[in-house]
């Protein structure tokens, strides 16, 4: 019995409890909002959002399909957090990853695994800039990342517009504002499905979710079981102390951003190599990279936790589409943002939980 109680007071358990309670508060807030906007349909809307992911194998496949890139962006943001860096550049790195993947797939007709490796490199390069600017010139990584999100978007639009083979209209479609449909342009570049699409009876299903989970496990090992991961965490906790202990902090900042960029880049590759989504040349930054931030925060930057938080956020957003026509899908974003807002002071909540538990224990004694 004592063992169990000790476990309950452990930091891992309390942070798990803190995450669960922020999720519950976020959902309650969403329900209240639905009720305020359209009371008669609030119940059906909420039920649709919470159950839609399981109603058919197709929508479950969609949850897994969207979770994979989210997981990669979440891992990216979480990894940078471990080094004390806020990687708001995930959208740019994600875009660059998607760009290199699509370029290799359509213009150069490469197989999927080369495209995915290219995506990783593309993201890593875009992560390198904020890291270098921080290490060499002491420019805040948040501002560099924001600048490079925009530079990346315009650069990608510019290059796609000038490479006709990458665009859909080259491959017999009427659209010139989006990239080619991979099924027509280069079926070999699509991420293999291994028969999973028949099993789930859904075109969304492929092995990308397994790649993402494997990456999460690799990141867990890197962060928690290697000297490199230890150095990164030390830099994040106290840069001066770790430098005094002989850790090259600047090298770690650059490496951390490069790895974070590579992870987001893989996310972009996974999404656009699935063959179901086409990159649209737009004037707005892709939101999926930003969604990595709540995923990482919800998981408290723990790579294993990121697997579950990405699945959760993806599940909610698939559910959100079932809330139409009574409510817009953006309701899900509201719930997620409330959850992040609460996660911002999760430390406070965690302390409160630990205190409450200690009090209970003392009361029993």
């Amino acid at each position: 019995m004592k063992n169990l109680r000790e476990k309950c007071a452990s930091p891992a358990f309390t942070s798990f409890l803190a995450s669960i309670s922020t999720i519950i508060i976020g959902l309650l807030f969403g329900y209240a909002l639905l009720f305020a906007l359209n009371a008669p349909n609030a119940n059906t809307g909420m039920v649709a959002m919470l159950t839609n992911g399981f109603t058919s194998s197709n929508s479950f496949a969609k949850v897994l399909y969207q979770a994979a890139p989210l997981m990669m962006c979440g891992l990216s943001v979480g990894f940078a957090f471990k080094t004390g860096l806020f990687n708001i550049g995930a959208p740019g790195q994600y875009t660059m990853g998607a760009f290199v993947a699509i370029l290799l797939a359509t213009q150069f007709q490469m197989p999927w695994w080369i495209c995915l490796l290219g995506a990783m490199v593309g993201g890593a390069v875009w992560g390198l800039f904020p890291g270098l600017f921080k290490a060499l010139f002491n420019v805040n990584e948040v501002i560099t990342s924001i600048m490079f999100n925009w530079i990346g978007m315009y650069l990608v639009n510019l290059i796609f517009a000038n490479m006709p083979k990458t665009l859909a209209n080259y491959w017999g479609s009427t659209n010139s504002d989006r990239t080619a449909d991979l099924a027509k342009a280069n079926p070999d570049a699509m991420i293999p499905k291994l028969g999973l699409d028949q099993l789930f009876d859904s075109t969304y299903m492929n092995i990308s979710i397994f790649i993402a989970i494997a990456m999460a496990i690799v990141m867990y090992i890197v962060v928690n079981k290697t000297t490199f991961g230890y150095e990164l965490k030390a830099c994040g906790l106290n840069k001066n102390a770790s430098q005094y202990a002989g850790i090259n902090a600047n090298r770690n900042i650059v490496l951390s951003m490069v790895i974070a960029g590579a992870l987001s880049g893989i996310g972009g590759g996974l999404y656009y190599l699935a063959g179901t989504g086409q990159y649209v040349l737009e004037k707005a930054i892709l939101a999926r990279g930003f969604d990595g931030i709540p995923v990482a925060l919800l998981a408290n930057s723990n790579p294993i936790g990121t697997i579950f938080s990405a699945l959760f956020v993806s599940y909610l957003s698939v559910g959100g589409s079932a809330m139409q026509p009574h409510f817009s899908t953006e309701t899900v974003n509201i719930i997620v943002s409330v959850i992040i807002y609460l996660a911002a002071f999760s430390l406070l909540m965690r302390n409160m939980l630990t205190k409450a538990m200690k009090k209970k224990e003392e009361g029993k004694k």
Partner: protein, 329 residues
């Protein structure tokens, strides 16, 4: 010449939101709170202002007193910006939470909330709010009648809204408040060394609240100014101008006059990008499709290059981003 007048007029109208929002960020950061939520604050301000304009239009008040209605909309935008910024202040000051994360949450909340509210008020699938046509100041507003196209008339009246003269007033007010009053001195002290400020009896929490709230007011008004500049509808977005304003603020070294210069610099590049095909002396990049992307990239690249050279003498408030804890005094 008419093209030049149009470009300049357009530059002014896009520089106004950048100027206002960057000034808002300056107040917040000078008090010690990083305000990454400016984008979200802009959306909330614009949303409130557009709905109030719609209401003024429906009641007939707007058509009879157009500029008074716009002035009220500005006040409403500012007030809603203040209210929304309180969420950031509460998390950052009272709960000592991570300021960038709290700001990110507010940025994500605002556009989603705007869409949901726009749906709820206007009906399903209606994601855009129409801005009434009477908001623009024309030559008729001054009783001048219809002017012919010309350099001066285009420069002044092509894109002229009440927010432009208001921005000039607010800029001067911001400078006076920040550098010529006791309040400004105290505010800056809280961003540089809150412990020292506290030890001489300044209430750091109150000053930081004031900084964030002034930032919220200017951010809300800036959001409204952006929607006026951007077109005739508001579609729950301010096109990344909040983030751009953050860059302008850093570029302007947290000083109102350099911020003014920075906002014109950014706005000019933005406008040149969209006018690039009809400006005669610019390189047209023969054979390159979508060459306007090159111009749109430029302000960001130039900012990065400038940051390399200026970061060594950057005058960022020393205590920004660090929650103030009385126990550390």
């Amino acid at each position: 010449m008419i093209t030049l007048a149009n470009v300049l007029s357009c530059t002014i109208v896009f520089a106004v939101p950048l100027l206002l929002v960057a000034l808002g960020g300056m107040f917040s950061e000078r008090s010690g709170v990083i305000n990454i939520a400016l984008e979200g604050i802009m959306v909330i301000g614009a949303l409130a202002a557009c709905f109030s304009l719609k209401a003024f239009d429906a009641s007939g008040f707007g058509a009879t007193n157009p500029q008074l209605a716009v002035f009220f909309a500005v006040l409403i935008a500012g007030a809603c910006g203040v209210i929304y910024s309180l969420f950031l202040a509460f998390a950052a000051i009272n709960l000592k939470a991570d300021q960038t994360i709290g700001g990110t949450a507010l940025n994500q909340f605002a556009p989603a909330f705007a869409v949901v509210i726009t749906w709820a008020i206007q009906g399903q699938g209606q994601t855009q709010i129409q801005i009434p046509s009477w908001v623009r100041i024309t030559s008729n507003t001054f009783g001048l009648g219809d002017l012919e196209q010309g350099f001066w008339s285009n420069l002044i009246f092509k894109y002229f809204y009440l927010t432009t003269p208001l921005a000039v007033v607010l800029l001067i007010l911001a400078y006076v408040l920040m550098f010529r009053t006791k309040f400004g001195l105290r505010l800056r002290a809280c961003g540089e060394h809150p412990q020292a400020a506290d030890s001489v009896g300044i209430n750091v929490y109150a000053m930081r609240y004031a900084g964030v709230m002034i930032g919220g007011f200017l951010g809300g008004v800036g959001g409204f100014a952006y929607t006026l500049a951007a077109g005739s509808t508001f579609a729950s977005s301010v096109g990344g101008y909040g983030f751009l304003a953050l860059a302008v603020m850093i570029f302007g070294n947290w000083n109102p006059w350099t911020i003014l210069g920075g906002s014109f610099f950014f706005a000019l590049f933005k406008v040149v990008a969209s006018y690039s095909s009809i400006i005669p002396f610019l390189p047209t990049f023969e054979g390159v499709k979508s060459a306007s992307n090159i111009y749109q990239m430029l302000p960001y690249i130039v900012t990065m290059i400038l940051l390399i050279f200026t970061s060594k003498k950057s005058r960022a408030p020393k205590a920004e981003g660090i929650p103030y804890d009385k126990g550390t005094r």
